[in-house]
């Protein structure tokens, strides 16, 4: 049993879509997008780019649909883009709320 598992493992390692090829690492590196959004959980909203966050939310929303429409469907890619859209959307909302509070502070400032 152990040797069958280790045989399958090494067959996969040396396969044409295994971890020694770009076929493996290109989709894996997509996971760094939501990981980056987690790393920037408390990023200063003044330093968040509204345009880039909008684009990343749209990008992940479109690819969520794409992952389910390709054949075979890729649920891992779907989950990755679901996380990414949610987390990048959170950063976008932080930025929009900060801009709104800045605008409010300017309006409330007593004019003298």
């Amino acid at each position: 049993m152990a040797s069958k598992f280790s045989g399958m493992f090494w067959t996969w390692v040396h396969s044409s879509t295994g971890p020694k090829t770009t076929h493996f690492w290109a989709p894996v590196c997509n996971w760094f997008f939501p990981i980056q959004a987690l790393y920037d959980w408390n990023r200063d909203p003044a330093k968040i780019s509204k345009e880039m966050q909008c684009v990343l939310v749209c990008y992940s929303s479109l690819f969520m649909r794409w992952a389910l429409r390709i054949s075979p469907q890729s649920y891992i890619l779907f989950c990755m883009h679901l996380f990414n859209a949610t987390l990048q959307g959170r950063l976008l909302i932080r930025r929009l709320m900060w801009e709104s509070s800045q605008q409010k502070a300017i309006e409330d400032k007593p004019t003298n």
């Binding site: 760094f32 980056q36 920037d40 990023r43 968040i48 780019s49 909008c54 684009v55 990008y59 479109l62």
Partner: protein, 115 residues
């Protein structure tokens, strides 16, 4: 029939379109399918980055995000190159995306800031 299919049927039913437009509307990867919009989304990341390069100051650059964009663009450009059939448009789009990420990282490095 879903709403997109209904819209596609409505648009294709109009008589003023030339035949080649109707064929494009009904294509497997035409504008009424998701396959048309995904490469555009990838180009959107490059456009947003170019806008940030031109308009935004250096202290707003997110080095972690730009590293991910550069690495993802590079790996996907290589992946699209080795795929059969070779996807030249995606290679180009991903290369541009990686280049904008590298330019942003270079600007950050030149300014000497860390975060």
């Amino acid at each position: 029939m879903g709403p997109i299919k209904k819209l596609q049927a409505f648009v294709c039913a109009q008589t003023f379109w030339p035949q080649f437009m109707v064929r494009w509307f009904q294509a497997e990867k035409g504008p009424f399918t998701i396959f048309f919009y995904c490469p555009l989304a990838k180009c959107g990341i490059s456009v947003a980055n170019i806008y940030d390069i031109i308009k935004k100051p250096v202290d707003t650059i997110n080095p972690v995000q730009q590293s991910v964009i550069a690495m993802s663009g590079t790996l996907f450009a290589r992946w699209c190159w080795i795929l059969k059939p070779r996807q030249f448009m995606l290679v180009f789009a991903n290369s541009v995306m990686a280049s904008t990420g590298i330019i942003q990282l270079w600007r950050k490095f030149q300014s000497g800031q860390s975060v």
